[in-house]
Every structure is written in structure tokens, then in C-alpha cells.
Amino acid sequence: MKIYEPVIGLEVHAQLLSKTKAFCPVATEFGAEPNTRVGPVSAGLPGSLPVLNEEAVELAVRAGLALNCRIAERSVFSRKNYFYPDLPKGYQISQFDEPLCLGGHLDIPLAEGGTKRVGITRIHMEEDAGKSTHFASTTLVNLNRAGTPLAEIVSEPDLRGPFEASAYLRKLHAILVYADVCDGNLEEGNFRCDVNISIRPLGQKAFGTRCELKNLNSFRFVEKAIEYEIARQIAIVEAGGKVAQETRGWDAAAGKTFSMRSKEEAHDYRYFPDPDLPPLVLEAGYVERVKGEMPELPEDKKRRFVESYGLSAYDAESLTATKSLSEYFEACVREGATAKVAANWILSELLRELKDVEGDVTKSPLRPAALAALVKLIDVGTISGKIAKTVFDEMYRTGKSAAEIVEAKGLVQISDTAPIEAWVDEVLAAFPNEVESYRGGKEKLYGFFVGETMKRSKGKANPGLVNEVLRRKLGSTA
């Protein structure tokens, strides 16, 4: 069997965080009563006309700058024509041959280490359609979402597998959220992805026939759908067949992609410049102003975390992977936690607990102030690191504060020398053979004595003091 290389390009639709719709002053709001966020323009009423939302333009420009694009001084809105009940005008206002942003890039981390630069072909603005909900014998349309502004971000076919695709998506997601361009909410469909994918024998220059996978709204679905699609296409080619150019959907329950429409059934969208909207011309200095007001992006934040908190590059990278995580960390520090200790607790204990929600720290029941309080107890020596893990678990599960738990369970660290000396004496008396062996050079037994002492203190003895007393009483090894 030949070795095949997948060639993947992604198209992401990110909902722009503007207060109102792309072409009319109706509020964009998720979860409102169906068809209550609709005006003459978003309903496509006869005589209604679109007027471009300047806030949406600014957000799209910001996306372009965050992704290193060239911002076009002049771009054009076009009509994309097709009939569907959730598209009341019978066309979608989009951008076609003259988009707002061109030629950017994004660096993604690779599994084997290092980074890869992925090209961004273009970013254009468009309006969303409404939402159709299909029932057995009828379909209902909700136009609340119709006319919501989107940025469509199109990558070059630079990605070579599910891992790279998902790394690209995660990074893109993080950047858009950092830049306050998009809230990134996947469940609400505010960040959706279409995948263009083909395979070719490794070493071949020409692209294979591509399929488009539509509307994937989770990173895991993207990975799975790509894995499935690579295998499917290879199997076809290996069996002597040809991959058909088509649009495919993802059946999450079955874990399969399925054909939606063939190339022959593909729409002819009959794009042409929308005569209702003059070309968008950005005045001199506009792009500079947007650039100057850009929120801190992940790369800058990472650098700052290393410089001002003394974190390792690795920890800084991990903590800035999402905007919410970086904000959680900084909130802990503001609450008085030592930066490095807080970083360790977040990256190990907290993220382990949040594994099921892909590390989404906004879903953590433990708020930064609570975690900071725990870190402070460790810092001042009230509890040991080991005890702290128990306390953390209990805090996470019960929502009680660290102080409450420590108080209720009497977990305060014992830092008096007298009781510790007594426990050490007990241990040395109980294990004379081991003491002998240790003194004879079996240094490995040291940990055993520490463990026995801690056991007798019910874990509350100050580990530093235990060390000090043990070393003194055991004397040096032979």
C-alpha cells in the first residue's frame, strides 16, 4: 500500500461580537423567543435595504490584524443567490472577489515539537442565515440569527492531518477570543468549521479530488471526521476507484461522514456585487487605529507571563492557551497567590479536573479567589502541599473554602519541634533493623522514615521540620 498524505484546508465561520446585526440595527441575542429579533431588513421585507454595521467591520478588521492579514482599503459586498426558507431575501450578503482581509498566517504547535506556519487565504464578512428546525411533517424557521455578522476565515490547504487541523482550530479560536472578535461559543454555533479534504500519494504535487465536510461545531468532531474521511478516501483509491467531488455531512452518532450533494447538484450562486451596498472603503488611518486598540494577543501575553511572573516558557504557553485560562491565572495572582505556585496548581490539579470539558476553566466550580486562598495557606506554611491536595479535592467537590476545610478537619500543619521529635523517636525505636541498615549505607531507606513519621502525624507534620529532626537523629550514613 502506498503512503498517502492528506491535504486539508479549513473554512471557519466566526460570529462577530457586535451588538447588532450586520445590516440592520436589531440586537443579536442568543436564546431570545423565536422570531423576536427580526426587523424589516432581517426578514427581507419588500423595500428593506441593508446598511453596513461599522462595529462588525471593525471586528472583522481586528480579526484580520490578529491573523497577520493585509486589510483591503476597498472591499465589495456581493449577493450569493440561493433559495431556502431560512434565507428570507433569497440571497446572502457576502464578499466574493474583493474580500476585506487577504494573505495572513497562523503558527500552530506540532506534535513532534516546534511550530508550523499555516497560511490564511482570506477573511471576508457575511451575514448568517436563520435557523431551520425540521420535524416529521413540517419545518419551523427562526430568523433571530438571520443577518448576524460572520467572519469567514479561509485557510490555505496547508494542514496535513487531524492533529494539525485541530491545533489550527484551537489556536484560531484562542486568537479570535483574545481579540474580542468572537465569543467562541461552540454550542451556540458561534464558531463553526467546514473542512476541505483530499488525499494524494506522498510526494505527489497535484492535489487529489477534494470533499467538503460541512458545519462541524466541535474540535473533536473535526478530528474524527477528518480521520474517517482520510480512511474513506484512501480505501476508495486503493480499491482502484475515484473520490467523487461532493459536499458531505458528519453523523456524530454513527461516527461517519455521509454524502449531502454531488458536484452536479452544487449550487450556482450567481455572485454579483450587491447594488444596495457601496464598496467598503476604509479611510486613511483606520487600520492603524484598530491596530492601536487591539486587545493583548496570546503571544504577547505569553511573553509578559515569562517576564513579569518568572514562569517557564512552557507554563506560560500552557496558561495562555485560552483567554479564559490566562485570566483565571491572573485573577489568582491578583488575589495574592504566588504566581509560580498558582501556575502549578492550575496546570496540574485544576486542568485534570476539567479534562471532560476540554480544560474550559469557565466551567470550574472553583473560582480564582478560592484557589488563591488555598495557595496562600501553602505559602505561609499553614498546610503542607500534600494536605493541600486533599483540601483541593474537597473544595472542588463541596464548594467549601480552604480555611473551612482545614479548620473542620484539623489539618493545620504541625511545626512544633517537640511532637515531631517524639514521633521520630517512636519510629527509630520501632525499626531498629532499618536504622542499622541506613546507617550502614542504605540511603534509600530515608524516605521510609519520613513516611512513617508523617503517618504518625496523620500527615500534618511540617515536612521541613521532619527532615531536620530525622537527619539530626539518624546522623550521617557510614
Binding site: P40, A43, G44, L45, P46, G47, S48, L49, P50, V51, L52, R79, N81, F83, P85, P88, K89, G90, Y91, V141, D268, R270, Y271, F272, D274, P275, D276, L277, P278
Partner: protein, 507 residues
């Protein structure tokens, strides 16, 4: 013969003066206007909907209150007919299509809200060609409108009802829309004055779109001063229309009056394009336009021969651009959100539902244009048709830029012929399209143009003189027209239908 009836037949200044001096009331005027609308509608069919008494008289009463309080503006208290392509809140707005037969406008077009703001009284929704697609008013789902000069003839189109309503003096004013000549050609056929403003001068918000880059709303009135008054009310920036210009509208009425009262037209250069006097131009039309040019010259204007070499491409370019835009603009009429829903449909696919709704809801001319436009935009044809048309459109615009270096106003016939008979051209789309051959270029260039009566042919039918000016110079057009109308009031002669009203005879 009553005082009110006389005044409704009079020129704008006379009527305005009587109302301002409180010699008559807006309610009296509105009553007479509504009476005439109802009395003539069986024969003329100028209205798709005549306003309810309670509605129109309520507006008139409010206008009287404002007039009594001393408020004055050019349209306050005057009846106006609004082309049924323009949304007026609470009224049925049909675009003369079965598709929108039952559509009640849920909001006011900007032009409608400005008329209401200024206290004009909307007396009805005027008939038109379906979705403004036509040159004779024969494509209306509600039946053709007829010409008040000869009921066997068409009033022109698409703003046929608007033109006929004024020519019959049912209302002193009407609003039309002009995409390729739809104000000027019917104004010419009906012997009245109609202005297509510069593209962007008047908001298109709330006007059912036909071809967005060409459509403009404009005033129609017996005389140029009335057009100036109506334009002043509706013109100016609109936040709901991204193609409306930010420049403030001038005081059209004042500027037009000043121009009218000039001693001479010395310094005014009139350009005459030789391309507008070629084959197909009726001799009577040619003669009348010649007389108008002579009148202009004898008043001191200089006549310059000019060239508009791209004129011959205007027709094909226009029919590519307008049909392409229309094919998208009319996509929303699918019977799902609004529009005609087929009663025959019980089961089938979504496509079948669309096809039935649209198949039943649209008339032949509308379907013809949707098909043409869809084809012109199709993958593989776009470059050859739509893109090429857009490029030639730029050349047509350049023709005018060059011409206006040598003249201030371009003059020529509005149409090659006078009003033709009903049915004469309805089976021959190309000959119908040719009746707009002199008016299309202007829309492609976005320029303002006006048609006024220049006299009558041997059959007694009105002949339209078209004037065009540089962008934003409507006042020059209105002023020149008012100047000519002051010199030769015979051009303001009443149509037989209006004359019958004056004689107290039921037409």
C-alpha cells in the same frame, strides 16, 4: 363647476396659494380628489387602491389644523397619489402583482414618511406595470391603466397610474419610480411633468426593488414647480439607504422659481445629441422637439450639437443590468415568508412549492426578466454578460461626462413615439423595450432627467421633451422646464378627462 374643481385643475402655484390663503381646505381638496379617483377608476384604472375616506380625510384634517396654525410648506394639505411600488404603512402595497396582492405594508417607505411629515394627503396607490417591469402599464395584475388623452391608448409605464392620475387631475401630485424611463416616458405620454432625480438623491428605503442600481423615486405633477415642491419634501439623506447621498437637498422650489423668473436663458448651453434623432423617431415628435429647441434658442440659450456614441449599447446593457439585479431582488417572493402561496399545493418538495408559488404569483414579463437575469449571472456567462455590461455602463457614463463639458442641459425626445394603443406592443417585448431607448442611458449613468410636454401630435396626443443635466443639478432641469412652461402655457393643456371634470361632466 366648483371652485375646488377649478383649483384641482389649476397649476401648482394657484392651488398652493388658495390653500395657503385658506380659501379652500385640505379636506375639501381631498374629498374632490377621492371623488374623482372613484369616478374615473372604472375607465382609467389609475389606482390599485383608493384610500379610505376616514384615512385620507383624517390626514387632510390634520393638515388643515397645521395650516390654520400658520404652518406652511410646499406640500402641506395637497393630495398625492403614490405608486403602488412604494410601501405606505397599513395600506395594501401590491407592486401590481398577484404575488403581493394581499401584502399590507408594515412600515412606511422613507418617501412616504416624509410626505406624511410634511402633511401631504395620500389619496391612493397608483397602478403600474407589475414590479415596474414594463413601458405601458399593461403588465399590471390589476389590469392596464388607460391614457386620459385617449382611453384606447396606454399611459406609458411603468408609472402609468401615477401619470394618469395627474393628467386626469385626480390628484395634483404623484410619486413615481424610474428605473429606465418609468417616470419620464409616462409623463411624456400623458402630457405632464415628471422628474427622475440623480441616483442617491431620494431614498429607496421602502420601495419594492426592481433594479437597485437604477431605481429612483421621483415627483410627477402637471408643471415643473409642483415637481420641485414634491421633490423638496422627499429628497435628502436617509440613514436606511446606503446608496442615498449624504448631501443635503437644496431648496428646489425656491431655486426653480428663481430660474423660471429669469429674463432670458443667456449663458445656458443646450446639448442636442444626434443619436437621439435617428431611425424610429416619429415626424411629429421630431417637429415638436425642434420647436422646443427653437423656443430655448430664442430665449437666449445656445444650442450645441453633441455626441453620445455609446447610446446604441444602452438598451442591451440596461436589459442585462436590470434583469440581473431583478433576478436577485425578486427571489424573496417565494410564498414562504410573504407573497402568493399556491392553494393547489398539498404535497411535494420545497422546490415544487417554490415553483408553484412563483409560477402563479408572477406574470409573464416578470418571469421573462427573472430568467434573463438568472442566465446573465450564471457561472460561465457572468463575464460575457454582466461584467461586460458593467464595463460598457462605465463608458456610457463617460459619454455624458464628456458631453457636459460642452453643455449644461441635454435636450431630446423622451420617447420616439407618442402613446400607442393598448395591445399594440404587448406581444413584442423588443419593440416595447425600444420605447425606452432615449431614457435608459440616464439611469445607467445615474443622472437626473425630466420630461415635460412639448406639444401635441396630429392625433392630439402629448409629446414629451426630455431634459438631462449633470449629477445633482435637478434645479437646472426644473428651472428650464418652468421657464418654458411660463412662456408657453399651452403645453399645460388639460386632458379630456380633466377637462370633463372642469366642465362638471362625469368623464
Amino acid at each position: 363647476m366648483s371652485r375646488i374643481s377649478d383649483l384641482l385643475n389649476a397649476d401648482f402655484e394657484t392651488l398652493r396659494g388658495a390653500l395657503d390663503r385658506r380659501e379652500i381646505s385640505a379636506v375639501e381638496l381631498a374629498k374632490e380628489s377621492l371623488r374623482r379617483a372613484r369616478a374615473t377608476n372604472a375607465s382609467l384604472n389609475a389606482f390599485v387602491t383608493v384610500a379610505e375616506d376616514s384615512d385620507a380625510l383624517g390626514q387632510a384634517d390634520a393638515a388643515d389644523v397645521r395650516l390654520d396654525a400658520g404652518e406652511r410648506n410646499a406640500v402641506l394639505g395637497l393630495p398625492v397619489a403614490v405608486k403602488d411600488l412604494i410601501l405606505t404603512k397599513g395600506h395594501r402595497t401590491t407592486a401590481a402583482s398577484r404575488m403581493l396582492e394581499k401584502f399590507t405594508a408594515p412600515y412606511d417607505a422613507t418617501v412616504a414618511s416624509r410626505l406624511k411629515r410634511d402633511g401631504a394627503v395620500i389619496v391612493g396607490k397608483a397602478n403600474l406595470d407589475e414590479f415596474a417591469m414594463g413601458s405601458s402599464n399593461e403588465t399590471s395584475f390589476f389590469g392596464p391603466c388607460r391614457n386620459p388623452w385617449d382611453l384606447d391608448r396606454v399611459p406609458g409605464g411603468s408609472s402609468g397610474g401615477s401619470a394618469a392620475a395627474v393628467a386626469a387631475r385626480v390628484s395634483p401630485f404623484s410619486l413615481g419610480t424610474d428605473t429606465g424611463g418609468s417616470i419620464r416616458q409616462p409623463a411624456g405620454f400623458c402630457g405632464i411633468t415628471g422628474l427622475k432625480p440623480t441616483y442617491g438623491r431620494v431614498s429607496r428605503y421602502g420601495v419594492v426593488a426592481f433594479a437597485s442600481s437604477l431605481d429612483q423615486v421621483g415627483p410627477m405633477c402637471a408643471d415643473a414647480l409642483g415637481c420641485a415642491a414634491l421633490l423638496e419634501s422627499i429628497a435628502g439623506p436617509c440613514a436606511h439607504d446606503a446608496t442615498s447621498s449624504k448631501r443635503e437637498a437644496p431648496k428646489f422650489l425656491e431655486e426653480t422659481r428663481r430660474f423660471r423668473d429669469r429674463e432670458t436663458l443667456l449663458g445656458l448651453r443646450i446639448g442636442v445629441p444626434k443619436e437621439y434623432f435617428g431611425e424610429g423617431l416619429e415626424p411629429d415628435v421630431r417637429a415638436a422637439i425642434g420647436n422646443s429647441l427653437a423656443a430655448l434658442e430664442s430665449s437666449g440659450a445656445s444650442i450645441v450639437e453633441i455626441e453620445l456614441p455609446q447610446t446604441r449599447y444602452a438598451l442591451p446593457v440596461y436589459y442585462l443590468v436590470c434583469t440581473a439585479e431583478a433576478s436577485a431582488n425578486l427571489a424573496r417572493y417565494d410564498g414562504i415568508h410573504f407573497g402568493h402561496r399556491s392553494e393547489k399545493f398539498s404535497e411535494g418538495t420545497l422546490e415544487e412549492l417554490y415553483a408553484m408559488n412563483r409560477g402563479e404569483g408572477f406574470g409573464d414579463e416578470v418571469k421573462r426578466r427573472i430568467l434573463l437575469g438568472t442566465y446573465a449571472l450564471s457561472s460561465g456567462y457572468y463575464d460575457a454578460y454582466y461584467r461586460k455590461a458593467s464595463q460598457v455602463r462605465a463608458l456610457i457614463r463617460r459619454d455624458f461626462e464628456r458631453a457636459f463639458e460642452r453643455c449644461d442641459v441635454i435636450a431630446g425626445p423622451t420617447s420616439p413615439t407618442t402613446a400607442f394603443r393598448l395591445g399594440e406592443k404587448s406581444d413584442d417585448p423588443v419593440s416595447m423595450y425600444l420605447s425606452d431607448v432615449y431614457t435608459l442611458s440616464l439611469n445607467l449613468a445615474g443622472l437626473p432627467g425630466l420630461s415635460l410636454n412639448a406639444g401635441f401630435d396630429a392625433k392630439g396626443l402629448p409629446i414629451g421633451l426630455q431634459l438631462m443635466s449633470r449629477w445633482w443639478e435637478e434645479s437646472t432641469l426644473l428651472g428650464t422646464a418652468a421657464f418654458l412652461q411660463k412662456r408657453d402655457p399651452s403645453t399645460l393643456r388639460l386632458s379630456p378627462v380633466a377637462a370633463a371634470f372642469a366642465a362638471g361632466v362625469q368623464p
